[in-house]
Amino acid sequence: MAVKKDLSIEYLGVKCENPFFLSSSPVGSNYEMVAKAFETGWGGVFFKTVGIFVADECSPRFDQNDKNGLPWVGFKNMEQISDKPTEVNFENIYKLKRDYPDKIMVSSIMGSTEEEWRELAKMSEQAEADLIECNFSCPQMTSHAMGSDVGTNLELVEKYSRAVAESTKLPVIAKMTPNITIMEPAAIAAIKGGAKGVSAINTVKSITSLDYENLTGMPVVNGVSSISGYSGTAVKPIGLRFIANLAQCKELEGVPLSGIGGIETWNDALDYILVGARNVQVTTSVMQYGYRIVEDMISGLSYFMDERGFDSVDELVGLALPNLVPAEELNRDFKIIPKIDLDKCVGCGRCYVSCYDAAHQAIDWDDKKRRPTINDNCVGCHLCLNVCPVKDCILPGEIEWKEGRTPTEIKVKHYYD
């Protein structure tokens, strides 16, 4: 029987039916799209960012890059905020909330002046949105008074957060840019200004690949291109890092976080939740596959919770945080020597090649039998385990203690996907 779990979670005083949201992007641009997304199962939508400024878009505006022929490792987007008239957007937000009262409508806004931010906040409230997200982070705006240039300026973040918070009774969320060395000061500035929640990450400034016909980046717009936001699987590790940093920041204690960046499966969503996000926002994978992916997120997360005995998503939030420690706190007294299962080994020699060329020459290769053996040079780096193409062929084996170190109880990972 299909496992159905209650995936609802409270977020900034609003009850959400599940933690799966569409992020503010092309995937939530009009009434029909969002209505379809709601019907498919998304818990809420951060509507495509609305400004007083109405965007004039270029063509083409997207690109994706691959690895060894696997497409969509990462995705690049040059689209700015909404290209629809401001009033039309708020009317859509209003109608969507009216027609789908149990779903969460977040009004994502972006002003270029304090006045504009105030006005947009008021309009959001009038449109009966549940929440407001301030977009301080779009890296491809045509004006430097808007977008990620604002998000890296602590003064502006605080000022605009205040302008919005003062203009509405709706909870305000600040969406941060990863194009910054550390995110905490900007997030703190937003909270100081009156924001109640923080979302991260917006896209990473990028050039995906070069076009040899025009000698520019992709996509090619009349022979040239621009640096713009990168998203998808490739940025997920960066997003997780920023969410964990924010979640572990003392000054931000209790601030609800929304995780964004490279979420495609329930595992991706769970990863964000485990490092402190109360919900997740998705765009790139929807651009690739459509809204339907949420069905497997809901089902997959339900099965996981059932398997592990969790009754609410809330229990999962930040569960991994105590186990994410600074590098200086790692126990460096031991090494775990990998164990090679020679019955599973297919003799490709990849472990040998990688260990020799990139690690510690700790694998001997029998070129007649075509089988590897780990020798005394092994430092337990586990590069071999990571390159081996055969499932469970190389796994953690013996624990060896460095000379003069005192053996203690060690926790080891046993199961690899």
Binding site: D66, N68, G69, V346, C348, R350, V353, W365, P389
Partner: protein
Amino acid sequence: MSKVIKKRYTEEADYGFNLRTAREEARRCLLCLDPPCSKGCPAGTDPGSFIRSIRLNNIKGAAETIRSNNILGGSCARVCPYDRLCEEACSRTGIDKPIQIGRLQRFAIEQEKAFKMKVLEAPKKKKPFKVACVGAGPASLACAAKLALEGYQVTIYEEKEKAGGVLTYGITPSRLPEHVVAHDIKTVKDLGVKFVFGTKVGRDVDLNDMDYDAIFIGAGLWGDKLPDIPGVDKEGVWTAVEFLKTARVEKTKFKPGENVIVIGGGNVAIDCAVTAKLLGAKNVRIVYRRSIEEAPADMKEFKYALKLGVSITTEMAPAEVLGQDRVEAMAFTSRDGVSTAKFKADDVVFAIGQKPEDMTAIAAVKVNEKGEIKATKSGKTNLAKVFAAGDVVSGGKTVVEAVAEGKEAAESIIAYLAKKEGVK
């Protein structure tokens, strides 16, 4: 009801990769330290290298590897029995199924033509030696190309009107399209190898009278072979060689009868059956005297024949061709001696192996009882200046093996001529 494939005679049996699908497949490759696939290729085509090139998006490099190692890389990509060569050796088999090496080779070598690449170039300065090659099939082409690349002046003599041997006059175009063979042959021609067509050595010319410093015989197996049973002289009885050649020359103008029986269990038998089916024969039956397990044909070829609706009957040996002047039916006796059978037939094709024509007419080479030239692995015969390789020596193996043997014989010729170089 089983779904049977219906194709035209010249329609390709199989699909190819494009850049995207090729890279997807190359991504499955384990990039072995010592690629067993490369060791599994008799001609040294080196799949390990060209697949890695495809994976790393160096498509032209992949084409270069194939063409440099195997002058008939395009044809081999289509007709090689990968399932018992490179793909059988593939390490990925230990996880799920082998990399589709043949199909990747086909893709990579197609790029050579698409990008108008010229991978091989013969030296401008020629060596003062002339070599004659007899026959324009795979062994001769491989030998000639290798010699031309070293600067030797090579002339190929071919009885027929076109080069390619079995590639042109044997294998069905559905499996090996004409343009693929033509492009392989062009790469040989572009090396400066001369071709003399319509000229049978030993009948029309005598190489022994001419100023060749070495002679290579790669004449293949074009002698008729029919079993010693009653009725083989009837009209409608074919040897595989004649049947396939007629089909290749006349193409769709060739109309086999409604009921065709092909006798044999090798790839040639399957080619005959497929040809008959594709040319419109309604009932095509392969009859083989041994079991499937003992059959020399590749499983993938059997499968293809089955998919076309060809029936396969095993452990029945031909006993008699029945009919008045023309064949009307074929009688068989079972291997266990228990039963006999008669099948209606308008055409009967014997694909029971081929034999060489009289090779002693070319030179005074020693031959075995089957008429095959006695030669060493490196292609040396009893005569110092005469070399031989390919089916005429082995009695019939694969195209890729003929390429490998032709290449090896070329090495022997080079060594032989190098000794003479000081003298000239």
